[in-house]
Amino acid sequence: MTFNSIQFLLFLPLVLLLFYALPRKSRWISLLVMSYVFYAGWKVEYLALLLYSTATEFFISNFIYRSKTILKKRIWLAFSLISNFGVLILFKYFHFLIGGSAWFKALANDNESFLYLQFIFEFGIPVGISFYTFQTVSYAIDVYRGRTIPERNFAKFALFVNFFPQLVAGPIERFEHLHPQLFNAPNPTFEIVKKAFRLMLYGFFLKMVIADNFGDIIAPLYLQPKDFDLYSRVIGALLFGFQIYADFFGYTLIAIGVAHLFGVKLQDNFRSPYSSYSLKEFWDRWHISLSTWFRDYIYIPLGGNKTSKGKWIFAIILTFGLSGLWHGASVTFIYWGLFHGIYYLIEQTFFPIPKGKKLSFFEKTVRWSTTFTAVMFGWILFRANQFWVFQEFGSSLGEKSLFDIKYLLLLIPVALFFASEVLFRKSRIDRYLSEKSSFVRWTFYAVFFLCILLFNSRGDMQFIYFQF
């Protein structure tokens, strides 16, 4: 069940009805049950994995907390990491690492059980596994570090793991932030409800109008880049950059909006990333919940920037490499991560922006354009499922063009999208509109609503981040 489906539009009012029909103290139970229903909407079998992940983390974290010695705590933490990452590796990376290899193929040919395993792991990546795994791992590490007291009630912990608005594509929440909000949340005020609908409206616009239409336009380019002319390749690369942003940001806004309806405030995941003047700034603004996860649980434990140059380089490359791998089992994702890592190292070594320095217009222009170009270049690697697709972008030019007269009408919502991004650059749509007059607000709503109705795409696009 995706957010942009009729099923979800029916599901949400039902959950709200159930939630608010119950006394405040019991409301979370309806949320827990409906979160499982939501997840089962993809595949009932995946529930087993989610339950496994929840159960192991619940018990292990309590064991960590109760352990008297640091050694015991470490052993339990190791169990937790092996258990969580084991499942993740098995389902997400098995085919990439082992299943596709010649020796395993030979083994699978002789034994049907292995063949079935290969099939399961090739086609059965459970939706959202990377998101909930990272959420539970952060919980276990925080318990180990003594920053979090573990939950004693299994069902309450289960709701923290599978709260449906953010279950399948984040934001990856921290226990101290999300958990207390899930129980005894006050009834949302009328202002909050309005805010929620504003976020959802803009989220649906981003997803259904911008991301899906851009995705439809560029799909043929990424099948055979060599057939296309230079103009199409450049435009195609740019469009993917905006597609992935609109897709993921759109999803996040809907998730945040839906959570608001239950009195829960999820963290921001994007803050105008394409307005960044450096790659460092870009990562402070893009997929914030993931980048802060990597910062807190990988980069800083490796020494961060308070260590020797060599160790710092290692920490950066490893963090970005893992971040690439997190996105999927493909070398192109690893190369994408490494590309960002190397660019980051060069930028921070030779061209860092000193803290507090005010950039001149010229500096801003140069820095913004180089950062934007680098990010967009990286997206070609990200979108190319296989390395040869990326290589074809540099091959001799073809004659096909992405441009088609039928896309002309799309310029209307696209112009609206860019105008909105400029307007909402310093303040998210909900905050921006809350300061405006009723007339301005309702004009915005009407225009976005009209665009969703008129320009939504009918293609085969799904939320990009659901596959991670």
């Binding site: 942009n4 489906s5 009729i6 539009l9 040919n109 049907e112 063949l115 079935y116 099939f119 090739e122 086609f123 009328f190 259904m208 899906d212 039928k406 009408l409 309702w442 709503y445 009407a446 609503f449 009209l450 109705l453 008129l454 939504n456 795409s457 009918r458 085969d460 799904q462």
Partner: protein, 324 residues
């Protein structure tokens, strides 16, 4: 009262926006969408304009012509010549029993044909056909085939409120059939069969393709079989006569490219289908092994015939239809 008024006024505002959107959409946006994505309805309506007792359902088989064909008449044209009566035809690429059924369900009572002739394409019972790249677009057609406000049709298509499967789900279904569905021969699965063919000197890509597209065993739980069963029931409920045409396959070439087992499997499937539908009181014209290999002008797909082949099929069908 104040909050209620607040909500009602704004809801009315949104309704007004929706109404304006509907007018714009219906007038300027929808026609091109309907043309590119909801073309099936227009095609069926156009094909049913002519008054006829016969409706022939086919896929690309009907109008596939060999480059050196001296006669470029489709099977339905030849059929008309043979029985000297008008025959309406519904044909488009990748169409199959599931789509035939949905089209029949859409035909109004007063236009429902007295006699339905329908291709029973063996290949369409396999996963490769049912889960082809064109399936989603065919299914999406039916969203637009509804007398609802155009905006709603558009919205339902965008939110995939139809029999939608993601590309990964389609691929998974094909892989599952090839790797795990049991065959009643020494080669337990399609994959094993292809692997063993690979070990031989006879190996060719065409041979592998043949196995992948015909190497399945039709049983009573086959989804396509259920589609045709529903068609039989529908025809009966309208008191229409249903004739199923088991299309010719290039069995001679299969013997050469693979081995005797593939034609034997096709034989087994053909026999199963013929008996199954005969038991249901349907006339089945079994042509699956009636054409020599020279009548097939493409390596793949196999159900494209030259003029001679099309004539054989048309004559066989005509023999079962009343002449004027």
């Amino acid at each position: 009262m104040k909050p209620l008024k607040y909500i009602v006024v704004r809801l009315l505002g949104l309704l007004l926006v929706a109404a304006v959107a509907q007018i714009i959409h219906q007038r300027w946006v929808y026609p091109s969408i309907k043309k590119s994505e909801g073309w099936l309805q227009a095609m069926v309506e156009r094909r049913l304009e002519k008054k006829s007792n016969f409706l022939y359902f086919s896929a690309s088989t009907n109008t596939a012509f060999a480059p050196d064909d001296s006669i470029t008449l489709s099977i339905s044209d030849l059929l008309q010549q043979n029985i000297q009566q008008a025959v309406n035809v519904i044909d488009t690429s990748a169409i199959h029993g599931g789509i035939f059924l949905k089209i029949l369900q859409k035909i109004p009572e007063n236009q429902f044909p007295k006699t339905i002739v329908m291709d029973l394409n063996l290949r369409s019972f396999g996963a490769n056909w049912i889960h082809s790249d064109l399936e989603n677009s065919l299914q999406r057609n039916f969203v637009y085939w509804n007398e609802r406000p155009s905006l709603l049709n558009h919205l339902f298509a965008a939110t995939k409120w139809y029999d939608y499967k993601s590309p990964n789900e389609h691929l998974r279904a094909i892989e599952y059939q090839q790797k795990f569905e049991r065959l009643p021969f020494n080669h337990p699965t399609i994959k094993k069969w292809c692997d063993s063919l690979f070990q031989t000197v006879n190996y060719s890509e065409d041979g592998k393709t043949m196995i992948e597209h015909f190497g399945f065993h039709i049983q009573s739980d086959n989804q396509q079989l259920k589609n045709f069963e529903a068609i039989v029931a529908l025809a009966k409920s309208h008191e229409s006569k249903l004739i199923l045409v088991l299309l010719p396959e290039n069995v001679e070439k299969m013997k050469l490219l693979v081995d005797q087992q593939l034609p034997a499997l096709i034989e087994k499937n053909a026999e199963f289908l013929t008996n199954h539908f005969k038991k249901m009181g349907v006339l089945v014209i079994d042509l699956h092994a009636k054409l020599p290999k020279e009548s097939f002008f493409e390596a793949f797909p196999t159900e494209h015939y030259n003029a001679f082949g099309r004539q054989i099929v048309a004559t066989a069908i005509a023999g079962k239809l009343p002449k004027k």
